[in-house]
Structure formats: structure tokens, C-alpha cells
Symmetry: C2
Subunit: 282 residues, 2 copies
């Protein structure tokens, strides 16, 4: 039976650390603050926002909500971003996507001040994950995978890590983060031939395929660490990851559950980035 | 005995194509032109410059040489870059590095206009190799590896490609270029444990370790394609790659020689980028 890598344990540890950091910053006159910029009322956005607000408040981070009508014009939205850029009381901006179709999301993202880009919305932040120049924050979900490995003392140095998926939101950046931690990193994707033979040879697998059942018993071997980034709804209407948990868990050494795994750490990382951004303004 | 992947054959084919492209651009009133910005008289720089000028002239691309004294100040050098940025007759800028130690190379690179960055000197261009936004040119040596594979009809789709090395100049970008061509890509480096077991399982190996003899017979298996990016001088004073050619060549399916491999294609790619940059000004 595999060790369960529980997101809650990781989040609790990060939260405790952040609570201290926020208190120290407040003592120096800075209250780390996140601005949440939302267009419309999409249920997914509202759900994530609720979690982020709760997490922020639990560690003493301020929240500034900016809600715009789904019919907002491009100019109005850009103006809202620029106002947040100029607002010295705001240290990080969370902006939901996809935006309604009449908006040019690329241009909106590009308008965000790099130092407030706590969820890797800009090209500059993404580039910095690749170049390792230390200027930008990685996407929160990608960083959450690393936080889980770190929390459980799983040293990736020299280990064979396979990332399943190559999106800019998770697969590509998490591969770079693993490489920066000295793992030997392989990226698999839909064009990979005989993926099970590749993943079975790994010591760590990060699954971000975006599809339930993408990784089954065939793909894994004893002792492996599996981080499941997927969030899907199965035929019974329940949340599930990209990994066939029931089939894989008895084989591997450690695995994140879904729900209760990576997703539970993501908002923590977001707030951690805000605290870090605030500390840089001192 | 392995097929020799000869850089000259690739360069000849690229040159023929470029000659036509340049003629077509000239007919439209544009002469693609490269500016070569050199500080001092380092022998390596002079040697590369000579090759680049020869290649440019052979296809009808104009060359503008800007040579600054090794004692040039930061302000004077930045001024020279800005002058080239503003010069509409210049479509690409080659700048040698490392610069003399008294200069801030990072700042000089950052001063270059993105659209003239034909050798991936700026963070923006590097980032674009990662995000695939199509805005920047990849480092010429990384792109040269891809041109060799393309020329010889080696389709990497779904193939297992291993890159040995993770520098920003070659290892990291070539891994992204291979991924963009749908290879299953693994990056190895000095911290990789049991590298021979990783490289032996690949169908394509790109070696950019920066060390003679980094890849020996142990690392390879029959049928593999080996691209050797290394340029070293051996004990007998002769040029050699990172691969122990004498030991590896009898085992694998195809291999680039050194000299006469990747290095012979690099200046071609540089000039190709200049022609492409010029075509974008139409």
C-alpha cells in the first residue's frame, strides 16, 4: 500500500511558515495583499476565489477583490490591471482565465506588472522558469508539485522524473522546476510512443495529462512516487485525477490523492508568492 | 558502419535555398543585412566572424562590421547597439561573447531589439523557445541540430530523444525544439545517475556536454542517431567533439563528425535567421 502524499499536510506546514512571515512583514509596516481580478461569475472562478480568500485571510494576507461585469470592454479591463499595477498596497494579482471571448486575453496578461505576476500569467514569468533567472514566479500548480516533494523529503537529485503532459500551465514548467532540482527529466505527451515503457522506468511521475484514466497499472512500477495533477469528474460525478488511483495505488510507493492532493496546495503557493512579492518591496 | 551526417551537405542545401530567398527579397527592394558587433580581437571571435561573413556574402546577404576597442565603455557599447537597433538597413545583429570583464554583458544583450536578435541573445528570445510563441529565434547551434535531422529526413515524432547537457545556449533550447517536433525528450546532465542506461534507451542523442569523451561506447546502442555538438581540442591538438567517435561510430546508425558536423551548419542558420528577419520587414 502506497504512502498517501496529502496536500493538507503540505498546506498546513506552508501555512504555519507563512503566518510567521506575514507577522514579520506587518511588524515592518507591510501587509502582504493579493488583488483578485475576476470578470463575470464563472462557477470555477468563484470556487477557486473562495479558497484563495480563505487561505489569504488565514495567514493574515489582505485581499482586494475587483469584480468586473462579463460585458467589460478591453479598455476597461486593461485600465483595471493598470490601476492594480500602480496600487502600492497590492503585491500580487490573481486573474482568472479564460476570459470572455470578446476580450484579448494575451494583451491583458501582458499588461500585468511583472513583479505582481504571482501566478505566471506573463511571458516574462514563463521565460524565467526556463532561464532560471529568478525574476518570475512559476505557475502555482507546477510549484505545488515541488512543494509536495519537498515537504515529504523526496530528493529528486539524479532521479529519473517523467512528466506526462507539456502544457505551458503545468507540464513544461514543472519539467523545468525538476531539472533545476537536478532530476533527469523526461517529458511525455500524446505523441509519445509506448508511454508505459517510459513511465515505468521513472522514479517519480508527474501526471498532467488532463484526462481521467490517462495513467493505469501498466504505466507504473513498485516504489515510484506519483504526483497526480489532474482534476476531472468521473462517470459517477465524483472528482478524480488523471491516474486510475484504485489500480495504481497498490503498486507504487507514494501517491497524491485527488481530491486532497496537489489541488489543496495550489492556493497556498499562490499566497506564498504574494508574501514573497511583498517582502521584495521592503 | 554509421551513416555520416555531414554538416556540409546540410549547409549546401540551406545555402541554395537562401540564395533564392535573398534574390526574391532583393527584387522587392530589401537586401537582408547582418551587423557584426565585435569588441576587441579575440581569435575565436575573428574565426567565427570570418565564417559568417563568407556565408553571408555567398548568398548575397549584406554585412556591416562594427568593431569596438576592447577598452570600450559600457555607455559606448550600448550606444552602438542602439544605433544598430535604429538602422533600418540592418535586419540582424551578431554580437560576440563573452565580452571583456569590465562590461555588463546582460545589460548589453537586453539592449538589443528583439526583432534583430538572430542568435538568441535576449531573455525574450530564450523565453519564446520555451513558450513556442514564434517571436524569437532559437540559438543558432540548437537550431543547427534540428536542420541536420530535417535534412537527413530523420523524423523525431514520438521518438525517444536524449539531450546530454542543460546549458541555456544549447541543451535547454534544443530539448524544447525537439519537444516542439513531438519527440519524447529526456534531459541528462552532470547530476544524472547512470547516464549510459538513459542514453542507451534513446533513438536520438544530442550531445552537448562540453567535454571530450563525455559519450563513449557504453552510452550508445545500434541504430541510434548521434548529434555531437561539442568542439574540443584533444591531446594531439586536433579538434574533436564530446563523443568518442572512434569507439561510438562502429555501433550507431548515424553520427555527425567533428569537425564537419554541427559547426558547419551554425553560420548557415545565423544567416537564415537574418533572411527571415528581413522578410518580416516587407
Amino acid at each position: 500500500m502506497a504512502n498517501l502524499l496529502k496536500g493538507k499536510d503540505v498546506a498546513d506546514a506552508l501555512t504555519a511558515k507563512m503566518t510567521d512571515d506575514v507577522a514579520a512583514l506587518k511588524a515592518k509596516g507591510v501587509t502582504p495583499t493579493i488583488a483578485i481580478l475576476r470578470v463575470g461569475e464563472r462557477p470555477d472562478d468563484l470556487s477557486y476565489e473562495k479558497g484563495a480568500v480563505k487561505r489569504a485571510e488565514s495567514v493574515g494576507v489582505g485581499v482586494k477583490s475587483v469584480v468586473l461585469d462579463a460585458e467589460v470592454t478591453q479598455a476597461e479591463l486593461i485600465k483595471a490591471v493598470e490601476t492594480l499595477n500602480a496600487d502600492k498596497s497590492v503585491h500580487g494579482v490573481l486573474m482568472f482565465s479564460p476570459l470572455p471571448k470578446h476580450l484579448d486575453e494575451k494583451a491583458v496578461r501582458a499588461a500585468l506588472a511583472p513583479e505582481k505576476d504571482v501566478d505566471c500569467l506573463t511571458e516574462g514569468s514563463l521565460g524565467s522558469v526556463f532561464t532560471g533567472n529568478g525574476k518570475g514566479y512559476a505557475p502555482c500548480t507546477a510549484q505545488a508539485c515541488i512543494e509536495i516533494l519537498d515537504h515529504y523529503g523526496i530528493d529528486v537529485t539524479g532521479k529519473r522524473a517523467v512528466v506526462v503532459g507539456r502544457s505551458l500551465v503545468i507540464g513544461k514548467p514543472v519539467a523545468q522546476l525538476l531539472l533545476a532540482k537536478n532530476a533527469t527529466v523526461t517529458t511525455c505527451h500524446t505523441k509519445t510512443v509506448d508511454m508505459p515503457s517510459v513511465t515505468r522506468g521513472a522514479e517519480i511521475i508527474i501526471v498532467a495529462a488532463g484526462k481521467a484514466g490517462a495513467v493505469t497499472a501498466d504505466y507504473v512500477s513498485p516504489g515510484q512516487v506519483i504526483i497526480d495533477v489532474g482534476i476531472n469528474v468521473n462517470a459517477e460525478g465524483k472528482l478524480c485525477g488523471d491516474v486510475d488511483f484504485a489500480a495504481v495505488e497498490p503498486i507504487v510507493g507514494a501517491i497524491t490523492p485527488v481530491p486532497g492532493g496537489v489541488g489543496s496546495v495550489t492556493t497556498c503557493v499562490l499566497i506564498k508568492h504574494v508574501v514573497d512579492a511583498a517582502s521584495k518591496t521592503l
